[in-house]
């Protein structure tokens, strides 16, 4: 429903080195376009008079006492104003290096940026750093204002010199500014209109430059990406719909489209587009927060990316190469787990390699460092604990960028340059090392199998909570024991994975638990045992870890009820509520194939 009154809106961030006059520029824009509430200008002027300090336009913005006291902008503030063309939200970003994370927060919301440089002081460290951050954040609409022209006698050569030098820098980082404007925010030159003080400048004023910024084209033409935020089923409210909720980041999708979830690879088809208090819809397009019901019942976890089968698909890997900027108090170091958030996926991650580190204010100084310090920019390879789905940032920005969380805080942001497909994962390295360091017993597995009259194996009972996994596991143990087989039920519950910990710690704990179980399984099956265990809510990748740690002994997977495992991973499926005796019979039939002695054992 497009409103006939509807006006276009645009977020614009103002950035620049500390004291180069960002807040003054905004104050002036508000005042000169009549955007201030009645009496505000007079009130602030009166306040200045009372406190015997000269009035500055920046005071209009400094609503917070802290900032007035220090005279600098600490955090981004937003203000609203209108031109004849559209409505603006102007974001005042702090220039001080200490508040880089606040600047980034403000700028990340913007579609366009005004970079302010002091004509008198010239290009400073943060003028470059902020330029670099704009390119990082993917902001394409950029205008540079050379401010305080009044302090340099409105001289054109000062302006041209800064313009030439800064253009060269921006060119290196692939930024082409729309305009360079000489201004004096304090005096109001070239803000709402051009000024007779600089008759040599006859191009756009700041207000015109704002109106000339172009809105981004809709992303509906791109490939379809729908990161699943959550899966809802409000059964208690008598609502039987199973809804996959999230936001369409790019592209469009319609009822009947074949879709695939990554990284799991599960497939289905769109049955309906769901909504509340809207007319029925049969398609959804980029930007919409919506939800879908599917034709088939599939189990996936929040975080997977839903794509169209017919589209180019994202990469699935545990490694990728990226550019990253770091804002954390503690440096980014090796051998430490961080939480990676990429679209709606959350996953533990570590640095696999630091390729190079640079100081963003001096692009030339590339250092060989073993860690990434606060305010550094680095090229790194990351390795996730489990496979993730992502795009290269040049193809789909929304699924090609990520943040890192350290100690509860977002501490870094990055863009993905390329996937790394490396057979040498940490799990494989670990297994190889384990084999090298393992002093093998003189009794071979074959000897043990002959002696015990069965091979060793791991039996995993998988399924949701409370489906009777343990009861069946113990019944199976008893039956095998009574038949004289060497069997052991390992009741190492994954209830240790507590609810109270954050989602990242949960994944971490879970994988830790699976690895622990895998190591135990390796020892016990190496000793010739049939090991039985049950795991609640295990996924395909965790089973893969368990299987490779248990190798060369076989793993038999029994799924009780549907738990979302890929059918290729599962040897036997039993219904919830199956009689334990019947279940044991079934499992034994499958187990016999796995543990039965091969004919060559008899020779």
């Amino acid at each position: 429903m497009t409103n006939r009154h509807e006006r276009e809106q645009m977020n614009v961030v103002i950035v620049g080195h500390v004291d180069h006059g960002k807040s003054t520029l905004i104050g002036r824009l508000l005042a000169d376009t009549g955007a201030l509430p009645e009496g505000k200008l007079e009130a602030v002027k009166a306040n200045c008079e009372r406190n015997a300090k000269p009035f500055e336009y920046a005071f209009l913005l400094d609503a917070l006492k802290d900032e007035q006291a220090q005279g600098i902008t600490i955090d981004t503030a937003r203000c609203f104003f209108k031109s004849a063309k559209r409505d603006y939200i102007i974001i005042d970003a702090p220039g001080h290096i200490e508040f880089l994370k606040n600047m980034v927060s403000g700028a990340a919301r913007a579609e366009a940026a005004i970079l302010v440089i002091d004509a008198h002081e010239g290009i400073q460290e943060n003028s470059k750093r902020h330029g670099y951050m704009m390119s990082f954040l993917g902001i394409k609409n950029i205008t540079v204002c050379v401010n305080k022209m009044d302090l340099v006698g409105y001289k054109q050569d000062v302006f041209e010199k800064i313009k030439a030098e800064y253009s060269k820098f921006l060119d290196e980082i692939n930024i082409k500014p729309d305009n360079f404007i000489p201004i004096s925010a304090r005096e109001g030159d070239s803000i709402a209109a051009l000024s007779s003080n600089m008759s040599w400048y006859q191009r756009a004023s700041v207000l015109e430059a704002l109106d000339n910024f172009k809105k981004k084209a809709p992303k509906s033409e791109q490939t379809f990406r729908f990161p699943v935020q959550d899966i809802y089923k409000f059964t208690a409210q008598a609502d039987d719909r199973r809804i996959f909720a999230g936001r369409v980041e790019t592209g469009t999708v319609a009822v009947g489209d074949d879709i695939i979830f990554l990284p799991s690879g599960k497939t289905s088809r769109i049955k309906s587009v769901e909504g509340f208090n809207t007319e029925p819809k049969n398609c959804a397009f980029s930007g919409e927060s919506t939800g879908f019901c599917l034709d088939t019942q599939i189990y996936i976890r929040p975080g997977e990316i839903m794509c169209k089968k017919s589209d180019r698909q994202p990469f699935v890997s545990t490694k990728f190469r990226s550019n990253l900027f770091w804002m954390g108090r503690l440096p980014l170091v090796k051998d430490k787990n961080y939480k990676l958030k990429i679209a709606s996926q959350h996953i533990p991650v570590r640095i696999a390699e630091i390729i190079s580190v640079l100081d963003a204010s001096e692009l030339s100084s590339i250092q060989k460092k073993n860690q990434v310090d606060r305010h550094d920019v680095a090229e790194c390879v990351f390795e996730t604990l489990k496979p993730v789905a992502f795009d290269e940032v040049v193809n789909v920005a929304e699924t090609g960028r990520f943040v890192l969380v350290d100690n509860y805080e977002i501490a870094g942001g990055g863009i993905i340059l390329a996937p790394v497909f490396d057979e040498n994962t940490s799990l494989k390295k670990h297994v190889r090392q384990r084999e090298e360091n393992w002093e093998r017993s003189g009794i071979t597995p074959q000897n043990r199998a002959l002696k015990y009259q069965h091979k060793s194996a791991l039996v995993v009972l998988a399924g949701q909570m409370d489906v009777g996994k343990q009861r069946i596991a113990k019944a199976l143990e008893e039956q095998l024991f009574n038949r004289g087989q060497n069997v052991y039920f390992l009741g190492l519950s994954n209830q240790v994975v507590q609810d109270s910990v954050g989602s990242n710690d949960k994944v971490l704990n879970k994988v830790d638990y699976i690895q622990q179980l895998g190591e135990l399984s390796h020892i016990l099956t190496d000793a010739g045992l049939i090991l039985i265990t049950s795991i609640t809510d295990v996924d395909d990748y965790e089973l893969k870890i368990l299987k490779s740690l248990t190798h060369p002994s076989q793993t038999l997977v029994v799924e009780i009820g549907q738990s979302g495992l890929n059918t290729a991973q599962v040897d036997l499926c039993l219904d919830v509520g199956v009689e334990p005796a019947a279940a044991v019979e079934d499992i034994q039939r499958h187990l016999n194939k796995a543990i039965g002695l091969d004919p060559e054992y008899a020779i």
Binding site: M1, N3, A63, L64, D75, R78, K101, S289, D499
Partner: protein, 300 residues
């Protein structure tokens, strides 16, 4: 519905972002609650929750009852709670009321009254160490809530355009153990990734309406036909409330807007386009105009 060019309208875009934020909050916070002041903003927030969760509101709604709210507000609250089957909870500073430590009763000034009846009541209701009262939908009555777990995520209807300090809020804004807000050291937010990890003992305030203006709120109420309390409309005496609070400290404004579309017209071009929305709220003026002292202390 046909959409030209597949571009979201301004209201569609605001709605999509708010819904996204609400779902992030619901996914990440086990003990989540939404503050409902009965005013237009938090009622829009409530509506957006029904959008986000396809007709449901899967978390409790918390109202702080100062006992000085305009009586029609409580009636309206309970009516919607019943109609929409809301998990409705309220809290109150019983002690201050019993000791008559209020501005209307003359014992304290406006700011202290706000602090006691709103900030303190809110802090302890959220923490769960003061009694919470929950609506029993079978009887329609409020009963003592057995759930005393602290809420770790609290959804609030603050908007950036309301006044200075609110323009600096994040979508997800941490508060420490004492509900305090460290304005100088807020977490970064980028690419729709928010602070959803938090240390034990702290909680996070979630602000899905941050980008909305007063006009957007009314345009959305009009578009969605959201039932809004009629105190906002002129009942024939040429006055209406523009912002709702406690009756001793909230004054109506002169206006003959009788319905939502007349309010939208009034805001678009009319008499209020340059007058602050909270100009009828007396406590703001005593706080140096910034609300900052109150907000640092947990005021919403």
């Amino acid at each position: 519905m046909t959409k030209d060019n597949k571009t979201l309208s301004k209201l569609d875009a605001l709605e999509a972002q708010s819904v996204y934020i609400l779902r992030e909050a619901y996914r990440e916070f086990k003990n989540l609650a939404m503050l409902w002041s009965i005013g237009k903003d938090s009622t829009v927030l409530l509506w957006l929750s029904r959008k986000a969760f396809f007709g449901h509101v899967p978390f409790p709604l918390v109202h702080i009852d100062t006992s000085y709210k305009i009586p029609a507000m409580i009636e309206y609250r309970d009516k919607l709670a019943r109609e929409w089957n809301l998990n409705m909870v309220y809290g109150q500073n019983k002690e201050a009321l019993a000791r008559k430590q209020t501005f209307p009763e003359g014992a304290v000034d406006r700011l202290t009254c706000c602090k006691l009846l709103k900030s303190e009541a809110l802090k302890h209701t959220l923490a769960g160490d003061w009694t919470r009262y929950r609506m029993n939908h079978k009887t329609g009555q409020y009963e003592e809530d057995t759930n005393t777990e602290p809420y770790t995520g609290v959804i609030v209807g603050a908007r950036a355009d309301e006044e200075g300090s609110r323009s600096k809020e994040r979508y997800f804004s941490p508060r420490d153990r004492n509900s305090e807000w460290d304005i100088g050291d807020q977490p970064p937010e980028l690419w729709n990734q928010f602070k959803t990890d938090f240390a034990p003992g702290t909680h996070v305030r979630v602000h899905p309406l941050l980008d909305w203006t007063e006009l957007n709120i009314w345009e959305y109420i009009e578009r969605e036909n959201i039932p809004i309390i009629d105190l906002y409309f002129d009942q024939g005496d040429g006055q209406r409330y523009r912002s709702l609070g406690c009756y001793p400290c909230t004054n109506p404004v002169d206006s003959t807007a009788r319905n939502v579309s007349e309010i939208v017209e009034e805001l678009r071009g009319g008499k209020f386009s340059n007058i602050a929305e909270r100009s009828g709220r007396a406590q703001d003026k005593e706080d140096g105009g910034g609300l900052e002292t109150l907000r640092r202390d947990g005021y919403m």
